[in-house]
Symmetry: C2
Subunit: 328 residues, 2 copies
């Protein structure tokens, strides 16, 4: 009921009468009054005026199932929300839930991760209240060889969502880092479980870590990491950003299902690419080389033009790509 009352207060233009809340939820005045009290205790500023009812003046930047659910405007993604104040890693929890039969679209969110990991096992700094650690579970019906494109969809969705919410211009470092002014603000880690006999996907978990309100980073990563707060100068409401990421991903995913490739987001993705038409170094285990990035293709590969004019389609899993003189 907390979610419903929060949603109604949030959608209202002004006051919502106690009677209206009672009628719509089919509960007593006392029940409504108790929930309002609980919300106030959590930090919501709610104005109660006799005859007019209740008005939500300000929401605290807290994460809870009710807070996240009251912000959401998706059809199926985040249909179930599982919230942890603190957990080892939302990917680990999501995998456990998926093994236990959690439904397609289930969202796991933690206020703080104690064992979050990025690519190559680099640890991702976490302080309570500063970051978003979220993972959603997908149970796709397409073949496993299409799944690597999900991580590119996620990068695109997060980029678009951050732009909508903060007004910042963000870039994507192919395949799936989000960078602002050449510093990383978001990491994405996608994992899959499948049956080898049936060549079918059990589930995919898409883990997204966003530096939202962080004010500083340890020295060793300060030159490479940033947060939305540090770039925009404004604190960002985490539940609002989570809701926007879910809405963007849901739309991107549904478009992806039409063609089973990245055609629909390709222009939009490449428009944000950090390394478009710039020199890149390809760290191929078979031998490094440099070339000019010509953008991603519809299969998610980076098109690199080598110095001799040869075109190489670089597959994300195999190699790492860097700017010639920097990480980006």
């Amino acid at each position: 009921m907390k979610t419903e009352i929060l949603t109604m207060l949030r959608q209202a233009d002004g006051y919502v009468s106690g009677q209206e809340l009672c009628d719509r939820l089919g509960v007593s005045r006392t029940a409504v009054w108790k929930v309002i009290g609980a919300l106030k205790e959590e930090g919501y500023e709610i104005d109660s005026a006799s005859r007019r009812g209740y008005r939500l003046k300000e929401s605290p930047d807290i994460l809870s199932e009710s807070e996240i659910e009251s912000r959401m405007h998706t059809k199926w993604l985040g249909g179930k929300v599982v919230y942890f104040g603190e957990t080892d890693s939302t990917n680990t929890q999501a995998k456990r839930l998926a093994e236990e039969g959690a439904q397609h679209g289930t969202l796991v969110v933690a206020d703080m991760q104690t064992a979050g990991k990025g690519r190559r096992g680099r640890s991702w700094q976490q302080r309570p209240g500063e970051t978003i650690s979220m993972t959603f579970i997908l149970k796709p019906e397409f073949a496993p060889d299409k799944a690597s494109m999900i991580t590119l969809l996620a990068a695109h969705s997060v980029a678009v969502a951050i732009e909508k919410v903060t007004g910042l211009s963000v870039q994507i470092k192919w395949p799936n880092d989000i960078v602002i002014h050449k510093k990383k603000a978001v990491g994405i880690l996608t994992e899959m479980s499948l049956s080898l006999e049936q060549d079918s996907i059990h589930y995919v978990v898409v883990g997204i870590g966003v530096n939202v309100n962080s004010t500083a980073f340890p020295d060793e990563i300060a030159s490479m990491a940033t947060s939305l707060f540090m770039e925009s100068g404004r604190r960002v409401c985490r539940s609002g950003l989570i809701a926007e990421i879910l809405a963007c991903f849901e739309a991107d995913y549904e478009a992806f299902l039409q063609t089973e490739d990245l055609t629909r987001i390709l222009g939009d993705y490449n428009a944000r690419l950090a390394s478009l038409d710039t020199q890149v170094r390809v760290l191929d285990p078979k031998g490094e080389y440099t070339g000019v990035s010509r953008g991603m293709n519809e299969r998610g590969e980076l098109i690199v033009e080598k110095e001799d004019g040869a075109i190489v389609n670089v597959y994300a899993g195999e190699v790492s790509v860097r700017g010639l003189y920097s990480y980006v």
Copy 2:
């Protein structure tokens, strides 16, 4: 210590003196005597003769960590054994253990599974004491696209192990069912978890279910299912068969790592193929067709010669293959 004493008794040709057991294990006579007592309670028949020591006369067909470990002769596979009297499914337990960091080669065994599953979710009959339900965890370093071959390796290893232990001739129904006189005796279910960004395998679990001492099957599957007991007329010691399966798989897997394909087992696998040079029906979702099976290739595909002479390499994940008039 139970494992060590059981192993020494088993390896001995005749009696092992109490003193020898004490010396080798560095424990007191009383300690040895207690373990012998415990083994007798589990059903082991142990002869104790004064001056000569102990002799293992007969082992019960029980599964326990000690029983399995005392039979094993592998280098790394089954290095750790996790035993359950009853569990939902050994694959589920193995996946959970793998997520929690279980080492390469860890073996999960259950006396009875309550939720075991075969391909396409068919349930596999289980009665306590009659079947082997085992799953081992692999943490390979090769690329995910090689992993589908593990299931073919497993089919080969299990076929060879059953032949060694029972003297029966068994056949393989490509890709990974073991059949005896055209009835299924073994099911294999291989699952994988991987990172999509790094294109690297977290782990693979190989689940093997063997109808060992079953005496009958329910009507609806009686025409398709059999057990080693029903075919050989003799009860088979399950721990001995588990040990042999592990030994065969370890050898096959190490051979596989040399070439990262099935070259080394190819001749042996095809010699046991149920459908070699016989007509098969290929249930391709894009359209069924018939042809003559010409055996598996080194990538694990079934080579099918169509009526017009065209050769198709059938990939296991995509299609199902049947004999023209029967399951095999």
